[in-house]
């Protein structure tokens, strides 16, 4: 009886609480998305439908903004796909821990695998499978409910949101906290620092594609360090 029902409930509750802390600074972003839909000239229900269908903040904003600016649908879709391509890394990173999960969860979990859920759950990979699943589902569903509600609210209150969005800085702050607690050893610290520098150097590349190169460069540096250490 290593995982009593009581302990399981706690992992679910913990996942929801951790997600809530990340939800608050994302509120301006969700409202801005609603505003983007209004300015695009699309029917509001049509623009909002991308929230449940795609569930992907930055890629949704890219898609709707470009459509609103009159870009071709193919161009808007390809830019949004490039913005969303970092999810390939999340999928790869989560693959081993998902092997210990039931089949239904492997099909459901990817739908919720957004930045915040990945950041929270990457540090929970050592939990027993059932606890990991409850944590993941609670975090994912909390964020999903919030995104559906606030992107809809943004359709109507969008024009009155304050321009001062200082609260949004809490998102990189919390991601930085999650990053630091995920680092065990100087190799990973170097990898993270290198990925940041490469991102900064490539910031002008279109559709955030610099991020993809930075991640590959970071992983390559990590593998190189491993190789050099084994030679010594």
């Amino acid at each position: 009886m290593s995982s009593s029902p009581n302990l399981r409930t706690n992992h679910g509750r913990q996942g929801a609480l951790d997600a809530l802390v990340l939800v608050v600074p994302a509120i301006p972003f969700a409202l801005v998305f609603g505003l983007t839909v209004r300015e695009s000239g699309l029917a509001v229900w049509l623009g909002w439908s991308s929230s449940p269908i795609m569930f992907s903040g930055a890629a949704q904003i890219t898609l709707i903004t470009l459509i609103g600016e009159g870009a071709s649908l193919a161009a808007a879709a390809s830019a949004a796909l490039v913005v969303g391509a970092r999810h390939l890394f999340y999928s790869f990173s989560m693959a081993p821990v998902m092997q210990r999960q039931p089949r239904w969860f492997r099909w459901v979990a990817p739908y919720m695998l957004i930045d915040q859920v990945f950041a929270l759950c990457a540090g929970k990979r050592d939990l027993p499978p059932a606890d990991f699943r409850h944590y993941y589902l609670a975090a994912g569903m909390t964020f999903w409910s919030f995104w559906m509600l606030f992107t809809a609210l943004g359709l109507f209150v969008g024009p009155v949101i304050p321009t001062n969005m200082d609260i949004s800085f809490a998102t990189p702050v919390l991601f930085m906290g999650l990053l630091v607690t995920a680092i065990d050893g100087w190799q990973k610290a170097l990898v993270a620092a290198f990925a940041m520098l490469v991102t900064l150097a490539l910031v002008d590349m279109p559709s955030r594609s610099g991020l993809l190169i930075a991640v590959v460069a970071g992983i390559a540096l990590g593998l190189l360090i491993d190789r050099v250490r084994r030679l010594w």
């Binding site: 649908l73 099909w107 930075a214 991640v215 593998l223």
Partner: protein, 102 residues
């Protein structure tokens, strides 16, 4: 047509998130892949943090108070491992420097 594009994008988003989870569900990972996996989370999260700070349009360096806020977040996370402390101290530094117009 826009509806169709959104649906196709939904399929695309799901496929990108699902592909390795589903395709590798019964594969044994070679040691090299397992080591690479270890570096995915730090590399992506570091890159995301930077992406959130610098927008291509508005100059390519983060503001002083953003750097100070993030450095505080990193230091407090390292010392306390408590995300509430991270949030409160880093936001205090960020807002405080903003108040002083730095």
């Amino acid at each position: 047509m826009v509806m169709l594009t959104i649906i196709l994008m939904g399929v695309g988003s799901y496929v990108m998130r699902a592909i390795f989870i589903l395709a590798l569900s019964d594969k044994t990972f070679p040691p090299m892949a397992l080591r690479a996996l270890e570096y995915v989370a730090p590399a992506v999260m570091a890159s995301l943090v930077m992406t959130m700070l610098v927008a291509p349009a508005e100059g390519s360096l983060p503001a002083m108070r953003e750097v100070a806020g993030l450095a505080t977040a990193a230091a407090v996370a390292l010392l306390t491992r408590n995300h509430i402390y991270v949030l409160t101290t880093a936001m205090a530094v960020y807002w405080g420097l903003g108040y002083l117009n730095l």
